[in-house]
Symmetry: C2
Subunit: 357 residues, 2 copies
């Protein structure tokens, strides 16, 4: 039986992918998550099934009563979802693999536009997340801080005056905050400067990861930059530090793009054109081919070289090309080979629609 | 100084590429060449410059007086052409590399539609050539035989009653005829049957070569099949033998295409689609990429899977993507990298024009 809420998610616009944002030609999105725990329960890994249920039955009403996620948020209990539906939540980055692997007591509460959400009983009792398009961590912070305060008025958080928020993993103790920005850096990749840039960021005590959180993964030329430490600085201080580094990276990326346009204009046009040609005309596309080619056309759109596509369509496709989404759209199970065919059909159709609009 | 006749060649339609022909979905063209020599002169390799000039001044008027090439044929003397113009004649397969490498006394006479031509003082005094679209060697034979008879009425050929026509190289003695058909065999290549097919043809005393006459070259999935021997059979007998083999090959190719369409429809669509996407959207194309992708869309057009292009446009592009043609169109010298850019621009523009027509 299909879950109606999943259908609502898929129907609704995802605000951080479709709304405009500052520096959106390079910064895809700004995301903050807060780790919070209730004072009177053991951390999820140590809690009994009954305790996990009790936690959930405290948090869910608190979200509703505080209107922290607005009044029409959606609730997903993984134990009542099909594996495919769980996978869709993962592909939309509303839940983690860790969350899905838990044996019970988990719940996801999310605004239907996916801009704010709460995972219950992942590694911590609450993982609160807010996300916005472009580079605007401070705005995201204001949103999530308000949301957190509303929840705090209903729940008793585990807090230590000296350490700050207590969390399941010591690396999160303090602010419990992880702030990250997803950057699209094809200029630095194409010009061979990305490794130096990544090493530089590492020295600033920030982490660089690929689109799926893996360190060495540069598929789609997408990179997440986030803070490593959560202790010793206030949230705004951490955010200002990340923000300054990101702005520098964006400036490097812009320079790299300018240089490419000046010195290797045809290499760049060719990169964009081949990406578009593949997406527009292939009948089989692997996930990686689709991702890399979407990256290829995004740089063309960003640089104003290419107006057959808009950023919004590219951003949405970054999500839709994932296997569970394709299976959901097809309404049936698909082998990997069938998924490649389905992926190519979806991409062709979306790009055709935009080209003819 | 540009040669006006070269411009006329480039302006005129090339009949064998733009006219319809039998089995044109697989057989690109049927070509016959005859090697002929004058009785009273040594073969070109042994002739003095004065003798080569004398041969030329006998043959050229004979072509005019006999109307063998019609009344408005074009004449090209390589010693009065630029290297670029010589290369254009080579790329159009009106002359051979051997012809261009001779030190003097050479002339090309050709109908402006390139359907019949005579090279003077290549390996033999005369190399007469006729070509038509599709598979129609017997019609080509009738044309070239008439042309040859007209020339014979004006010239005294070296002929031996026992051996037949005498030629510079012993492998041409007898009929002096080489009949060949250019086949497009992507079905056999994609289904992995091409090597067996080529081996089978070799056993029948026929030669298989790639588009540029090299034995192992299968660029563009194009293969020339021609007779090896010129002795012991009449011209119609040789032609009938080739024709029968070619018809069998065409039938194998059709079967291979049918099987691909049945069992690997999406692989085939993908092959065609990717080829089209590359040609339509790349900004740099090497010769091999262009050739292979043109082959890729040709199979789609042939099989009725794809109507954004017509065979005529594809056939013409097979010629226009050659480097000397690109340099001629550009009106200036081009580095290889610049030629790749020029090639991509030409292909994009032609395909765009057809797609929008």
């Amino acid at each position: 039986m299909a879950n109606d809420n999943i259908d609502r998610l898929l129907r609704n616009k995802v605000s951080f992918l479709t709304d405009a944002g500052p520096e959106e030609d390079i910064a895809i999105s700004s995301r903050i998550r807060l780790a919070r725990n209730l004072a009177d329960f053991p951390f999820p890994a140590a809690a009994s099934p009954e305790q996990l249920d009790a936690i959930r039955e405290l948090v869910a009403p608190a979200v509703a009563e505080s209107s922290a996620l607005g009044d029409d948020f959606l609730r997903f209990d993984p134990d009542q979802l099909t594996p495919l539906e769980c996978e869709i939540l993962f592909e939309r980055r509303l839940v983690s693999r860790d969350f899905l692997n838990r044996s019970g007591g988990t719940t996801l509460l999310t605004r239907s536009d996916e801009s704010s959400s709460v995972m219950v009983n992942e590694e911590d009792h609450l993982r609160i997340q807010s996300i916005r398009p472009g580079l605007q961590l401070m705005n995201v912070w204001e949103t999530i801080d308000r949301l957190d305060n509303r929840l705090a008025s209903k729940l008793s958080y585990a807090f230590d005056n000296r350490l700050g928020f207590l969390t399941s993993c010591p690396t999160n103790v303090g602010t419990g905050m992880r702030a990250s920005v997803m950057l699209h850096l094809p200029g630095l990749v194409l010009s061979g400067q990305i490794n130096a840039a990544i090493q530089g960021i590492g020295k600033l005590n920030l982490a660089v990861r690929g689109i799926f959180g893996e360190g060495t993964d540069n598929r789609g030329n997408l990179f997440q930059i986030s803070n490593q430490s959560t202790l010793g600085e206030s949230e705004p201080q951490i955010i200002e530090r990340i923000d300054a580094v990101i702005r520098q990276l964006i400036s490097h990326e812009k320079n790299a793009r300018r240089m490419l346009l000046e010195k290797e204009q045809y290499a760049l046009l060719d990169h964009v054109g081949r990406s578009y040609g593949l997406l527009r005309h292939a009948y089989k596309l692997t996930y990686d081919e689709a991702l890399n080619s979407l990256s290829g056309i995004r740089i063309g759109v960003d640089m104003g070289m290419f107006n057959s596509v808009d950023i919004k369509t590219v951003n949405e496709l970054f999500i839709c090309i994932n296997p569970a989404h394709l299976r959901k759209f097809a309404g049936r199970s698909l082998t990997d080979a069938e998924a490649d065919i389905q992926r190519a059909a979806l991409v062709r159709e979306r790009l055709k629609k935009v080209a003819e609009a």
